[in-house]
Amino acid sequence: MTEAISVRSLWAALLAFLRRDIRSLFGKRIPESVAESSPAPLLAPHDGKISPTTLLDPAKLGGVRRRRKVLDWRDETIVNADSAGIDAFQDFSVHVQDLLKDVSIWRLLWAKPANEVLRVEFDKRVRLHIRKEMRTAEKRLAELLTLQDRSDRRRPSFVDDWPDRDLTCIAKHGFRPNNEDEILSCLRGLVMSNQGIVPMFQRQTISIADELIGKVAQ
């Protein structure tokens, strides 16, 4: 009799095992598709296993805010660099046109290379203008990091790695009115083209922001 009961219970256990949902044999993680195959009653607590206390730490919200501030700084700096470049080049173009109007007859025949004539003024009107914008951006960033109480020992800064300092791109053009378009086109490229001063500044901005956001994430 006892043996019969034991065989029956063994058989029942085997049946129960065979009927068992095979998915329950694997870990606790329930995939999305499985979770939804047995919809929970709408007004009942989930399954009793989930803690009623909060699962997320509000302290981590500070990271969201810091990240946003850095992104805002990055985007504002990029926009400011763009307008600084456009304004500076506009101002410099007017200056070049004024100079070209005053070229003497002698210099029309034996023109100086354009870079010799323009290098100093280009530094003063374009490079310094953009450098000023870079320093302003650095200052804003320093204020931001101070507000965020960041203990970074090294504060990120821009590198004055100006492309084509000697304006060699216009060295082949004589400084005379009939070369105005070529000269200005080359210089516009030096300021705004992909390898120009402004995009270089913008790439550095993105790189600094990425570095800071990486630190925020840590």
Binding site: H46, T54, P58
Partner: protein, 316 residues
């Protein structure tokens, strides 16, 4: 389970935000001193219908700046709706939120209002269709066909979600739709990655339309999980969505797009607001879960709201 939720209005928090005692992060307010969450911002179904209507008229993200919203609203809205939009704009301004983008899809739990979502998606569908034909972004014919197919599938899922309440037991249907939308969201995320990787500037308009498609999918799938009271799952999904938006949108800068730099900045501000709102959404769902607030009741109450487009859920 709690089935009646007491909401407040954003204006009640204006003074605290202005004084700096309370700070806004995405869709929530935090006590500046203690760091504790004070309240969650939540859109109602009314917000969705108002914004949805505006979005169908224009899909330019730049129009979503708060200050421009009331002006741009007058042409397509009734006097009552204009008043409601102004209330929404004032609510966002009270909390110092810069764009209506957060209300687009959305702050708080996405109370999708499937009918509006469907209308919006139909509008998106036709715009994307035009864009992939006119914008040269390297879409081959096969890829275009695939995109069309996914757009059709999402439209169909929206329709099914809209019809689900008429089922005797809609829970399973909502779960199925959520699962399918997860797959669709992955597809649109992949398309966005593709558009971003193609050399040169990103087509801002195509990017924006695809982004909306992605956000519609994510919003509705979270909505569906809420309706089946799967709050723990909704929380996990919303965390994944938030991480996805950070990864995807955080790389974009004002020089990433083919549009004017100022216009790109506006688009980016909307995307940043949306990213922040997505990052704080899990905290709201976690709060609902921890307070044992019934997900379906919560959604129903938001959908039934007819006067206030934005609400605050005070943290007890």
């Amino acid at each position: 389970m709690i089935t009646q939720i007491m909401f407040e209005i954003p204006a009640m928090y204006e003074a605290a935000v202005r004084s700096g005692k309370v700070i806004q992060i995405g869709g929530l307010l935090k006590n500046a001193a203690s760091g504790q969450i004070v309240a969650h911002l939540q859109e109602s179904g009314l917000a969705h219908s108002l914004i949805g209507k505006g979005m169908l008229a224009s899909t330019n993200p730049a129009m979503l700046a708060v200050s421009e919203a009331a002006n741009s609203a007058t042409g397509i809205y009734t006097a009552v709706q204009v008043k409601q939009i102004k209330a929404m704009v004032e609510g966002l301004q009270a909390l110092q939120i810069a764009t209506l983008g957060v209300s687009l899809l959305g702050v708080g739990v996405s109370v999708a209002g499937f009918i509006y979502m469907r209308k919006r998606f139909n509008s998106l569908d036709s715009k994307i269709e035009t864009l992939i034909n006119t914008v040269n972004v390297g879409f081959e014919d096969q890829r275009k066909a695939m995109l069309r197919s996914h757009l059709s599938q999402v439209k169909s899922l929206m329709q099914q979600a809209n019809q689900a309440p008429t089922l005797s037991k809609p829970e399973h249907e909502y779960s199925r739709i959520a699962e399918s939308l997860a797959e669709q969201a992955t597809h649109f995320e992949g398309e966005l990655e593709f558009v971003m990787k193609v050399s040169g500037k990103i087509s801002s308009e195509l990017f924006w339309q695809l982004t909306q498609a992605l956000m519609v999918c994510n919003s509705v799938r979270i909505d569906c999980r809420m309706r089946t009271n799967e709050l723990h799952n909704a929380l996990t999904v919303s965390e994944d969505v938030a991480q996805g938006y950070q990864r995807l949108f955080g790389r974009l800068t004002p020089i990433s797009f083919d549009a004017q730099i100022d216009e790109c900045s506006s688009t980016l501000n909307v995307l940043k607001d949306i990213t922040d709102a997505a990052a704080t959404k899990p905290y709201l769902i976690d709060y609902l879960r921890s307070q044992q607030i019934d997900g379906r009741s919560y959604m129903t109450q938001l959908e039934d709201e007819t006067e206030r487009p934005l609400l605050m859920l005070k943290v007890a």
